[in-house]
């Protein structure tokens, strides 16, 4: 009897342990915000239930908008009223607070269907009108995601750019097991770092996760058999398939925009060259022929050209090459001239910007180049910055860096004005890859 009770207590305790380590491990620090961030009042959504809501929806929305650097949500203590629907709003009250916009909402629960109903409205305080309003029905499990969708709608309504809060990030974490053995995890989490899900765990290095355009699969490099090979993994089913294991390097996978081919680096012919694999037939087309290192291919949005890193000119620089059905069309053209070292390109969703790792003196920063004007901007000041990846709306770039001797992820807005740091309590985080927009 007592044993039973004890066992239950132990079980409960271990469950608690799991849940705390699962949710409390991530911290987000806004290390640099915009001066002209838009003040916005987000009134805590009214909730009639007796129990606490499984997710604090208002807090998620506020944190999303604040993190973007574009908004400055006012603190709850400064809210002069707590309206939760349009007819309760007295606009003149909010004008006193100097907020341009106001969000109100309420949540109810349909017990028989086990469904939450969330309604919200966004107002322009000065024009005294509703800018948008939606009603969502969602399960308890999807409350957090619904909050991100509300953030997306607010962001798009006020900024004119689609929000990217309801998206995911893939990354690699490195920690140690109980036996002090290195453990590498390929993980996927919400764009704010919550709901981390381990996709694959290995004692050997993994790197370069690349999202399929439908957001369902990730191609990546794994050393699980002792050397670099390419794998493809379904996120939901976790089913994994080895897709390239030639002699030498099988590295740097990059999905084409249509998802029908994968660009990659293979050194089976002697030194690293860019290839394109047809994902249906597995047939390879060789793109580069050069004695130098050619690696890190990435597609332009039209799917007709690749940007890649090559040291054919002495040090690593970025090149562009046109790709036809039978291979390269014409010669590779060098596109970066700033400094001695530019590598790991990533292209914005509209194709107008290329972010990269750029060396300045003895430091490595994230830089961005405008593809039309060739205007070159260094976005970061830390020194070991690598692996940049654009948000699907092109507004932010997430990248890996070092902070307090640990690998952390940071995000910077494309204009360099806002920065945030995502860190986990233990181990290193690296190789971030921002997902495409959700299609469902």
């Amino acid at each position: 009897m007592n044993m039973m009770l004890l066992r239950r207590v132990v079980l409960l305790f271990s469950l608690l342990m799991v849940s705390t380590t699962g949710s409390a491990t991530l911290t987000i620090d806004i290390t640099q915000g915009v001066e002209g961030a838009l003040p916005i009042a987000i009134v805590p959504f009214h909730w009639e239930g007796a129990e606490v809501l499984p997710e604090d929806i208002t807090a998620v929305i506020k944190s999303d908008l604040q993190r973007s650097g574009r908004f400055a949500p006012i603190p709850d203590k400064d809210l002069i009223a707590r309206p939760f629907e349009g007819k309760q709003v007295k606009f003149q009250n909010w004008r006193v607070l100097n907020v341009d916009n106001l969000v109100v909402g309420h949540v109810s629960y349909e017990k028989d269907k086990k469904i939450y109903r969330i309604q919200f409205q966004l107002f322009d305080v000065y024009k005294e009108n509703q800018l948008t309003g939606y009603s969502f029905r969602t399960s308890g499990r999807n409350l957090r995601r619904t909050a991100h969708r509300i953030s997306d709608i607010i962001f798009e309504t006020l900024m004119g750019v689609r929000g990217a809060f309801d998206t995911s990030i893939a990354y690699i974490t490195v920690g140690y097991s109980d036996k002090n053995q290195k453990i590498y995890n390929l993980a996927v989490a919400d764009s704010d770092g919550y709901n981390e899900q381990i996709i694959y765990q290995s004692t050997q290095p993994m790197l370069s996760p690349s999202w399929s355009p439908d957001g369902r699969r990730i191609a990546y490099v794994s050393y699980r058999r002792g050397r670099p090979e390419l794998y493809l993994q379904n996120i939901a089913t976790k089913k994994v398939k080895r897709i390239s294991s030639y002699q030498g390097l099988n590295n740097a996978p990059a999905w084409s925009p249509k998802g029908d081919t994968l660009a990659m680096t293979l050194s089976k012919d002697g030194n690293p060259e860019i290839y394109v694999m047809n994902m249906k037939s597995n047939k390879l087309t060789r793109i580069t022929r050069n004695y130098a290192i050619d690696t890190e291919p990435v597609w332009l949005p039209d799917g007709r050209s690749l940007i890649f890193t090559s040291d054919r000119g002495g040090g690593p620089q970025l090149y562009r090459i046109k790709v036809g059905r039978r291979g390269a069309v014409g010669k590779a053209e060098r596109i970066t001239y700033e400094g001695k070292y530019n590598a790991r390109p990533t292209v914005s969703p509209d194709g107008k910007k290329i972010a990269m790792v750029h060396q300045m003196e003895d430091k490595f920063h994230i830089a961005v180049m405008d593809t039309e004007t060739e205007h070159f901007t260094i976005l970061t000041e830390s020194s070991l910055d690598e692996s940049p990846s654009f948000a699907p709306n092109g507004s932010m770039i997430i990248y890996a860096t070092e902070h307090d001797n640990r690998g952390v992820l940071s995000a910077v807005s494309v204009d360099g004005s806002t920065k945030q740091r995502l860190s986990f309590q233990q181990g290193d985080v690296r190789e971030p890859a921002w997902s495409p927009f959700r299609t469902n």
């Binding site: 050397r227 390097l249 030194n271 890193t309 690296r430």
Partner: protein
């Protein structure tokens, strides 16, 4: 851990050569006294701490795969051994420091290992005896974020199979 011991082992060999001690480290990092004057016992040159074969790590400059002159004799010693022992096989592990991009560093690590491979094969070593694997910056031996750590991480390790 095993890998770490291996580095301790290599480091130990280098230090014991330098200090002319009579103690050598055997495989697995266990310390064992070597009776240096013991007559009639042939030491395998691979486990002889005073042999150039005891040097198993070749170091490189940043973003370079050029083998420095100071390592050419060591590589020649390994070439001689491998030519004389066609049954012996090695893995050349290429590595890079943490700076710059990871995929470029894997390519760079491979080029470093291939530079060593080439110097071995021109001296008669069969390509079948050599396997090249690059880890780029994924497996540093020194964990600091300064040149003293980086210089130790820009390396090719010569690993004899069975050792």
């Amino acid at each position: 851990m095993q890998r770490f011991l291996k580095y301790v082992f290599v480091l130990g060999l280098i230090m014991s050569v330098a200090a002319c001690t009579t103690a050598a480290k055997k495989e697995g990092g266990e310390e064992a006294p070597v009776a240096a004057e013991e007559p009639g016992k042939m030491l395998d040159p691979l486990s002889d701490p005073s042999s150039p074969l005891a040097t198993r790590v070749i170091y490189f400059d940043f973003d370079s795969s050029v083998i420095k002159d100071e390592f050419k004799d060591v590589i020649t010693a390994h070439a001689d051994y491998l030519v004389g022992h066609p049954e012996a096989a090695i893995i050349l592990e290429g590595h890079a420091d943490e700076r710059g991009s990871r995929e470029y560093n894997i390519a760079l690590g491979e080029r470093r290992a291939k530079a060593v491979e080439q110097l071995l094969t021109v001296q008669g070593v069969s390509a079948k005896q050599i396997q090249v694997i690059s880890f780029g910056e994924e497996r540093p031996v020194a964990l600091g974020h300064d040149e003293s750590a980086w210089s130790l991480n820009r390396r090719v390790e010569i690993l004899y199979s069975g050792q």
